[in-house]
Every structure is written in structure tokens, then in C-alpha cells.
Symmetry: C2
């Protein structure tokens, strides 16, 4: 075991504060990463504040981790000291079930081990995330980051990137696809960029004309304002695929009506109940509503390499570690375009300041 | 025009009574069928009583029609006088849209013409259904019924049969598939028989142990009682495909949990809103909820030929025309195993008796 520095929540109603904790020594298959940047996912806030009633404290949030490999175990082949590496939402899984064998560790039948707010596999020890100086993760759960990439912007790819990449790939979005991205936040803005990179015709569907303008700057081809009944009526049955990134319960029926015959709407942002869906919204047009969770490790690597090749990166706002509590307040007001990233070089001064 | 005899509802609160009306003469592409049997679909009752607020009166219900071809137009090639023929839920569509061109007339972009409770394409004249002695339908919308089939049991294939056949085919149910059929009524019992005929392992999922026993007699391999929390827990993530035939709003979440990774639940019975679905029910397992409506005419013919070849027919209870109002009351109490079929030979005496 060795000592790490980080920022942690000690209870649902407490701000994050400096926190010292231990991580395991580097095992045969492990990689130790010096964390350079960590993205701030909306779910960090939900979990730090126990919004989902499953929080384990103390909690070091952060699952959009990027850094430099400092040390590798004897059996590690994919990475070496000095490489850039990323860690996303998962740090372990059972490795034996059908999902794991299909490289879909996120759907591990025994449940994958989350990067934070979980327990190390088969142990009582809590997992601690990326709001920290270092992390030790088994090679299988580490992504290699091409050296050509802008590291600080890479961090959000590990969650927001793969969460939108995976369903666009699974449902075969490509040239000729008419795609609608519902909601413009951390996920939505990556959805627009990735769907464009796949060659699709992309419409941002938002309640806010201002966000529509922003989406055009991000590369969207069109904007559809969902509160404009006439525009929604004209857009009926015109989309092959809808990526729904809205993070709260809402009425799916007006969006389902936008789908063509055999079209699919995929939920990636909302875990809680949506409003009652009318059977007819799906039956009339053989439409589907599906869900998708992040991606497996092989696909996360594929996504990283795709983003490097096509120059796809999120728009970020850098913050210092000591600004995290203020950043959470701004997140609650959707006041971020489109992802906060913590510069982990500020961790030491934050520890002193607090 | 020529005069036909039938049974019609004259208003939402009126019983069905004898009714005389006119049908068009046989055109170049038309087929005139002497109706021998007509199935009683639950939607007949909904529409006769204006439950969906879209009823047009007078209404002659009936879209599970089977009979003998009496006359064909000069351009008809598929059928000749003396053949057995069937008519389902549709009698026309635009023929030009992408759906029609893909033989999916049920999803016609301009809306297909329903067999009853609609208007003839481009005209004011109402369409009248199969609770009658004859019908004239364009060849494209007529299915040829193999002579070897038990005609009276064929009738429900035209709606209950194709409604369950089409999604089982579309989602590629076959040997090795683990299929759950939710709800045992007219649709559910056909779902069990067809999924078995496709080679799947079939579980009847029902609230009622009695219906479970019935399902075993119909060929189901297993029964899962949906009110048994322990059994539902053990069955989690064990189905590739769920055919949900429940005709009223209900909670989909416990059923979604039964789906394996990438599994699909298809709604075929419920047009109205279902209870709020949790996003997590779909996201955790990349599950889908979809809808499916009847089938196109080519697929309806394929279904008919498949049922002839594999000896798949519904369990029916024959009724006389004058018993239709009583049959509706029994339908409301689910007191039918599993489909009423009207013997149209009783129409004349019913007209006299009323």
C-alpha cells in the first residue's frame, strides 16, 4: 500500500475536501498512473450528494481520468512507463460471464466494479476515483491514449465520449443516417461531434434556441426546438436514430413520433422513470426505445483511437481542484460548456489552501 | 353497387343489430368474397363502443375474415372463383410510400385504410367489415387460404396470427431463443403456438396460475407467475425476447428486468400509456422496448402458408351472429379460450330473429 492525495466527500451534505488515503501496490497485471486531468461528470455530483441513495463515504469521485504511466507490473504488455493512459467508469469485472467474454464489461452479469463509490472486487476496500494524484488499475481496464492528443480534453472521452460513441456504433449510424441528438450538455455535445464524424446528418433537438445556436457551432446541421409544435409536427417520422441525453424524467412520446419506421431512440442520460409512454407511439411504426451504458474496454480503446484520428474532442473548461465545489453548483445550473476538467497539478496547492 | 347483409353498431351505447348496406361492384382488380367465418377481435368491441374516440357509425366490425371467392375482376391473377380467401385489418393503402413499397402496408405513411371504421380511399364512403355476408377487396389486400386448412379456425390468423407472427419473425426468434409471452388471450395464445413452431423455448408469463396451466396445454415449456417475486427474481436476465400482449396500461419495469443483454420486449396489445419506465431498466443491459402492428400483406400470406404447413391454428369458440352482444360481454370478462369466431351461416336467421 502507498499513500495518495485526493479530494473527497465525507457525507451527502459536505463539500469535497482534501483527503489522504491508501492504494494497493502495483501487482503483476497492474498499471500505476500519475493523474494529470480528471473530467467532472454530472454523476460525480449525484453520487457525492447521495442522490441515488447508494453512496459510500469517504468518496473520491472522478471517472474521466487521464495521466502518465508511472509504473507497470511484470505481466503488463499494452503499456509502459511514460505512456499516456486513461481510466473510465470501470476498474474491474468478473471476466467470466457472457458479457465480459464479449468485451462488454459494462454489462458484467455479476456487476462491474465502478472506479469510485464501489468496493474492490471480492474485498471490503472502497474504490477511489480520479480526483486524486495517482491510481492503480489492472491493464485490461486501462486505455492507451495516443501521444498526439490534447490530454486535458481527452479526459471526458472516458465517460461522455464512450457513452455516446457506443450506441451510435451499435445502431450503425453512418453516412445517410438522419440523427437527432436530444439535449445539449456534456453527453449531447459529444453526441453531435461523434455523429458528425460518423458521417450522419445531425439535428440538435433542444428546448432552448440559444443551445441550438451553440449546437450549430459544434457542427450540427440543423436545430429543432422541441417546444415548437409546428416544427415538431413537420419533423414527424424523419429520424432514423435519436440519441436522448436528457438526464431527468421527461415525456418520450413527442420524440418517439419523430422516428421513422423501424427507428430507435436510445436513452443514455436518464436512470429514473420517464413519463408514461403510449404503446401506440411504438406500435405505429415498429419503433424502439432502448438504453445504452458507457462501453466495454475494447470499444473504449476503439473510441479513443477514432477520436485521435478524426480530431474529435470535447469542449472543456479547466478548473483547479479547489474550485470543485463551486463547479458542482455551476453544474446544477447547467452553467458549463460542456465539461469541467480538473487540472490535477493544482491538487497540492488545494490541499494547502483548505 | 349491390346490397349486403350484416350486423352493425349504430352508436357507442347500442347493441349490434341487423344492418343492410351497399358494397361496390367488383372492379378490375377486385375480389368478391362470400364470408364464411369472421373472428371477434377485442378491438371490434373497443371500436363498436367508441372506446378510442374515433368511431364512425354505422359500423360493421370484423377484420378476421375468411370465405370463398365468388367473383374476381378481369385483372386478378392470384385468386379465382371457388378459392378460399382471407381479409385482415387493411383493405387499402397509398401503394407509393417507402413502407408500401417495402410490403409494409400497415405502416403506410399516408395511413392504411382499415377494413372497417374507416373511409374508402379518397372517398366519403365508410368501410364495412366482416360481420356481413360478402366483401369486395382489391386483390393485393386478399390472402389466399390453402384448401387443407380448417377454415373456421383460420379467421383469427388474419389479425391475432399476423400480429404475433410478424414481431417473432422480425426479431428473428428461432431455435435457441428463450421467449416469454406476456398475457394469455387471443394474441398470447397465438404467440405461444407460433414461437413454439419457430423452435423457441417458450415461457408463458401470466398473473394467473390457471392460465399458466392452460399455456402448458398450448405447448409452452414453462410458466412464470408474474406476481411471484421470488420466481421473477430468479428469471432476471434470462429472456432474449418478450412478446407483450397485455392490452391495457401496466408496469413494464418488472418485465424489462427479465431481458438478457440486448434483449427486446415488443408491445403488440397496448395502445394507451404504460406506467413510467425507468431509464435504468433499459440502460443496464442495452435492452429495448419496441412496438409492432399486424403485418404487411406479403407477410400475412407467408404466415398463412406457414400455419398451413405447420398445423398452427388458434383455439376457437364458434358463436352464432345473434350471440355477438353476449360474446362482447364475455370478452370484457376474458371469458373466451381464446377467440370467438362467428359462423356467418347464422346471419340470415339472426336477421330474422332480431
Amino acid at each position: 500500500m502507498f499513500v495518495c492525495q485526493g479530494f473527497a466527500a465525507s457525507a451527502a451534505d459536505q463539500p469535497l475536501k482534501p483527503f489522504e488515503f491508501e492504494r494497493r501496490d502495483v501487482g503483476e497485471h497492474d498499471v500505476r498512473i500519475e493523474i494529470l486531468y480528471c473530467g467532472v461528470c454530472h454523476s460525480d455530483l449525484h453520487q457525492a450528494r447521495n442522490d441515488w441513495s447508494n453512496s459510500l463515504y469517504p468518496m473520491v469521485p472522478g471517472h474521466e481520468i487521464v495521466g502518465r504511466v508511472a509504473e507497470v507490473g511484470a505481466a503488463v504488455t499494452k503499456l509502459k512507463a511514460g505512456d499516456y493512459a486513461g481510466v473510465g467508469c470501470l476498474v474491474d469485472s468478473c471476466r467470466r460471464c457472457a458479457a465480459c467474454e464479449a468485451d462488454l464489461e459494462q454489462y458484467c452479469e455479476e456487476g462491474p466494479t465502478p472506479t469510485y463509490n464501489g468496493r474492490e472486487r471480492g474485498k471490503d476496500a472502497l474504490t477511489f476515483g480520479g480526483y486524486s494524484d495517482q491510481i492503480v488499475v489492472e491493464e485490461r481496464f486501462v486505455v492507451k491514449v495516443p501521444e498526439t492528443m490534447d490530454l486535458k480534453a481527452v479526459a471526458p472521452l472516458l465517460c461522455a465520449g464512450i457513452t455516446t460513441y457506443s450506441p451510435l456504433r451499435h445502431w450503425k449510424v453512418g453516412p445517410g443516417s438522419r440523427v437527432g441528438v436530444i439535449g445539449l450538455g456534456g453527453l449531447g455535445h459529444m453526441g453531435v461531434k461523434l455523429a458528425k464524424a460518423f458521417g450522419a446528418h445531425v439535428t440538435m433537438i433542444t428546448t432552448s434556441p440559444g443551445k441550438g445556436e451553440d449546437a450549430m457551432k459544434l457542427g450540427a446541421d440543423e436545430v429543432l426546438i422541441s417546444t415548437d409544435e409546428s416544427a415538431m409536427g413537420q419533423a414527424k417520422a424523419s429520424f432514423d436514430f435519436l440519441l436522448n441525453t436528457v438526464p431527468v424524467g421527461h415525456d418520450l412520446n413527442p420524440y418517439a413520433a419523430l422516428l421513422k419506421l423501424d427507428g430507435t431512440m436510445v436513452l443514455v442520460g436518464v436512470l429514473t422513470p420517464v413519463e408514461p409512454l403510449a404503446g401506440a407511439s411504438l406500435i405505429m411504426g415498429r419503433r424502439s426505445v432502448a438504453g445504452s451504458a458507457i462501453g466495454g474496454l475494447a470499444e473504449t480503446q476503439e473510441m479513443m483511437d477514432f477520436c485521435a484520428e478524426h480530431g474529435v474532442l470535447p469542449d472543456i473548461e479547466m478548473i483547479a481542484m479547489q474550485d470543485i465545489n463551486e463547479a458542482y453548483e455551476r453544474l446544477l445550473k447547467n452553467d458549463v460548456r460542456y465539461r469541467f476538467v480538473i487540472d490535477m497539478a493544482t491538487l497540492k496547492e488545494a490541499a494547502v489552501a483548505n
